[in-house]
């Protein structure tokens, strides 16, 4: 028996899922100030009629870290950057407590300039004097050579034992210094709060006598064991949209090109499935308008939902971003998007007469009920259609760096709109008609998010960079750096093998060994380095991953 809990902005949903069927569902309002209690409230409700010993797995998708980052209430952290040459210092607007260190590494991982010990003392003293207890150290090209990051980190740990230090290369091995810096910084500022949350959940589950696997859902739609998540709190951001996308995949099956619309009270999350695979944000999750190295689905959120308020001003119908109440058909006080669709298409939701009355009231003498309804439907379908089209375009316009990628560019042909979330039943059929594609709304569409969390499997991506001339390799995650034993005969197959082994090892450490044999290579690059007219070495970049999918016991949902 599986439990999935999805903490949303307004409501928290929970499901109990067993052998293809949803056995229990519950929904409570989310208390942003005490997410732990909200989670436990849902859990307790779900457990009311179940035998605790039947529960084998619990997956949580939470907003703890998302909220911390949005409200800026993370722990004060010093950001120590080693940028070397390039962009000016003011390009790095990440933290108010930013310090710049001397030192430089180049793209081959060669050390250009050393650290300056005097400078370190001065900065260390300043940090400690300001009462800061945490620091993140990131060097440009630290992913190719973490020596400077390590030296600075050791130095700080030695001289200022009260300081907890994170380094960029531990957080990510990918190129993009500002994204590594941002990700490391966000990890540092959320670490303390997240660990407290994990402690509390751990304790609460023990108190309830639950002894099953517990996972946290990540932004990439994969899960992470609760304990493992302690070191990577930021991976848990945006897990809500990830949960609904996984839910849609679980319900809709089939590998087609589809768009998933999760239509809630005031927001709609839109994701693309390309041949059944969720599309990732090409620049990583964007948090507070800053890109990160957190792998996340390419989800667009717009302020439009079933409860969005409708107004009429001087004959102009507008759909507002705010919500006043539930839809009039459910006894709400004013007209909403749901009421307009309900009236226009005779959907018979709630009390349809109340929908008509609410529309008539806002139309007043200026507009007929029919006109108001039609205008709202047009506004909503146009807005959704525009966003969907621009998402296709964005995907089609992703840069390409190889000839064959340009020549074989794929076009996105939409085959289906999958609706989930409470308000999708009203809006999706009409939108699909307007876009001339079929639509799909499963009977469990309202709890797809919690269901998606419950059945999602762990994910993991490994990146390897090898330089046979310097004989150095680096592996991510973990910031592993080592020397090649046999650089002269090193081939692409050796690089693949090395990456695969690392994936297996990390998989074992993370308790997901049974999934690592389902991995696939997502990047294989090989370059010959030429000096004069001779080959002097090779460079390899290899990536291998376990993509988002479902746990073994999930065999689909009964219709």
């Amino acid at each position: 028996m599986l439990i999935g809990i999805d903490v949303g902005g307004t409501y928290t949903d929970g499901v109990v899922f067993d052998r293809g069927e949803v056995i229990a569902t519950t929904k409570v309002p989310t208390d942003d100030n005490d997410i732990k209690s909200t989670v436990l409230q849902v859990l307790d409700k779900l457990l009311l009629k179940q035998d605790k010993s039947d529960i084998t797995r619990i997956v949580l998708s939470t907003t703890v870290v998302t909220n911390l980052l949005a409200t800026g209430k993370g722990e004060r952290t010093a950001l120590l950057l080693i940028p070397g040459y390039g962009l000016p210092a003011d390009a790095y607007d990440i933290s108010d407590d930013t310090f710049f260190l001397k030192g430089g590494i180049d793209f081959r991982g060669r050390e250009l300039d050393p650290l300056d010990e005097k400078e370190l003392i001065q900065i260390g003293d300043n940090i400690v004097a300001a009462g800061i207890k945490r620091a993140a150290i990131i060097s440009k090209f630290g992913n190719r050579n973490d020596n400077l990051e390590k030296q600075a980190s050791h130095y700080m740990a030695q001289h200022y034992p009260q300081l907890s230090v994170t380094t960029g290369s531990q957080i990510s091995g990918k190129l993009n210094f500002p994204r590594r810096a941002t990700t490391a910084y966000y990890t540092a500022i959320t670490s303390k709060e997240w660990n407290r949350f994990v402690d509390e959940i751990d304790q609460a589950l023990t108190e309830r006598g639950l002894d099953c696997e517990v996972h946290i859902l990540k932004a990439d739609g994969g899960t992470l064991a609760l304990d493992v998540s302690r070191d990577m709190p930021c991976e848990t951001v945006f897990s809500g949209p990830a949960a609904s996308t996984m839910g849609a995949m679980a319900l809709a099956g089939e590998g087609m090109n589809s768009v998933v619309l999760d239509i809630g009270g005031t927001t709609t999350d839109i994701a693309l499935l390309i041949e059944g695979e969720p599309l990732y944000a090409s620049k990583g999750a964007s948090i507070n308008q800053r890109y990160t190295h957190i792998n996340a689905f390419a989800v667009r959120s717009i302020a439009l939902g079933g409860d969005s308020c409708i107004t009429v001003n001087a004959g102009q119908v507008e759909v507002q971003a705010y919500r006043r109440d539930v839809a009039a058909c459910f006894g709400g006080s004013s007209a909403t998007v749901t009421d307009a669709f309900n009236y226009k298409f005779n959907l018979n939701i709630g009390n349809p007469e109340l929908s008509a009355a609410a529309l008539e009231q806002i139309g007043g003498s200026a507009m007929s009920t029919e006109e108001v309804g039609a205008a709202v439907v047009a506004i909503v379908t146009n807005r959704l259609q525009d966003v969907i089209t621009s998402m296709f375009k964005e995907w089609e316009n992703e840069p390409a760096y190889k000839v064959w990628e340009v020549i074989n560019k794929r076009k996105f042909t939409l085959e289906q709109i999958t609706g989930i979330g409470a308000a999708s039943r009203a809006i999706i059929p009409e939108l699909a008609d307007a876009m001339q594609v079929k639509h799909f709304i499963h009977q469990y569409a309202d709890v797809a998010n919690a269901l998606g969390a419950a059945v999602a499997r762990p994910t993991l991506a490994v990146n390897l960079h090898v330089d046979t001339q310097t004989k150095i390799y680096t592996l991510d995650p973990g910031g592993v750096r080592g020397t090649l034993e046999n650089p002269h005969n090193f081939q692409l197959k050796d690089a693949r093998e090395m990456a695969r082994k690392h994936l297996e090892q990390v998989g074992k450490e993370r308790g997901m060994a049974s999934y690592t044999n389902e991995s696939s290579f997502f990047m294989e690059e090989q370059f010959n380095m030429i000096g004069g007219w001779d080959q002097t070495g090779k460079l390899f970049d290899v990536g291998i991953q376990v993509t988002p999918g479902f746990i073994e016991e999930f065999k689909g949902v009964k219709i």
Binding site: P83, Y85, G86, L87, P88, A89, D90, A91, G104, D106, F107, R108, L112, K140, F141, L175, N176, F177, P178, R179, K283, Y291, N397, E398, P399, A400, Y401, K402, V403, W404, V406, I407, E525, F527, N528, M529, I530, G532, W533, D534, Q535, L539
Partner: protein
Amino acid sequence: MKPTGILFFPAFDWAISPTHPEREERLLYTRDQIFEEGIMDLLQIREYQPGLATAKDIARVHFCVPDVEAQITEAHLVSAGSALRIADAYMEGEIKNGFAIIRPPGHHSKTVSHGNRGFCNINNEAIMIEYLRQKYGIKRVAIVDTDVHHGDGTQEIYYNDPDVLFISFHQDGRTLYPGSGHMDELGGPLAYGTTINLPLAPRTTDTGILYALEKLIMPILEEFKPELIVNSAGQDNHYSDPLADMRFSAQGYARLNEILAPDIAVLEGGYSVQTALPYVNMGLIMAMAGIDYSNLREPDYVPERMRENPANLEYIDKMVKRQLQVFRQREEQIEKNRKTRERFHHVHKQIFYDTDYIHEEQSIQLRLCPDCPGFRLIESTAQHRNGYYYRVYCVSIPANACASCQSEARSCYTDMSGNDRYDLVYLQDRVNNDFRSIDIKKDVEMVL
């Protein structure tokens, strides 16, 4: 403020040969550097996806022998197409300026293309400019060739076009490929003074190049008033370039682009793949995007070693004064040429394709028209690498041709279309966007 458009197409799967300077590795470290700097994430930057040029886009500029497909690979279509993509973004007003960091390069490709010259088969800038003239109706364009090698292909394509100003500074042709680009190459009789060359002494530094920029190139641009400024942006003036011997730095390149303020820059040469390109490309991007580049430099840069020799500065100053005078007297000279010359101006040329080892013989007739820059008739012969000996006849009608030149040129094409002296007869009619060729032996006309 509009962003700067960047189109990065490193063609990681294309090389002339495995150890050739034009190999897969060329822009690898530039990729590492610009990705690591996160420059594409900045609000000042917008990244563009590569495009694909069509055979017609290429035929608007070149007579490819025997046909477009024979002279290019898919990589060339993407490289040229990417220049078109960034140019569209500029013309549509999406970006304030744009930089196409693309390969393969193109500035050594001339009107007739029998093969690869100086790593180039087709001329990306010319294809872009003719596309823009056709699509958006722009007329006056300035190309500043900042590659260390003379941009002989671009010069030849626009040698008779008074509406395209071509300025090239480069290492003196007596010391470097392709050997041309001398002071007295000033344009054809009806386009005199809109080709300006500045052959610089080896080891010229930032100071010397920026002096020429401020004292010659900028004043000329101001007087010429182009609608579009294109930087044919080679990066082999760099002090570490293995193929040349200049002393230009990343800071120098950044400053040059800040002052020049090109609307569009298109990458040409530059083969110091580790020591120069990552930093020079950063410098160009930062300068074009208006980002402070004072913290940018090459790891091995020592400014003291890059002092300009006063005698060289004096030498540059002399050239600058002379070329400025030529430019300012160009209209008088053109009027004189129109009156004194024959109906047709004849030129005979030999062109060597270094990469493909092809010798081409050309005989050109330029119509000296009183009303327009005139059309060109080109007879070209060359033996290709496959052993086949081609003799072709090409009719080129420029975009600004007058009505009588158009009809006269078109009848030249018709007259030659049955002449079995030739393997192929071509028509390039830019006015009517009509590009066709006849395979004489097969008696088949191909219309693009």
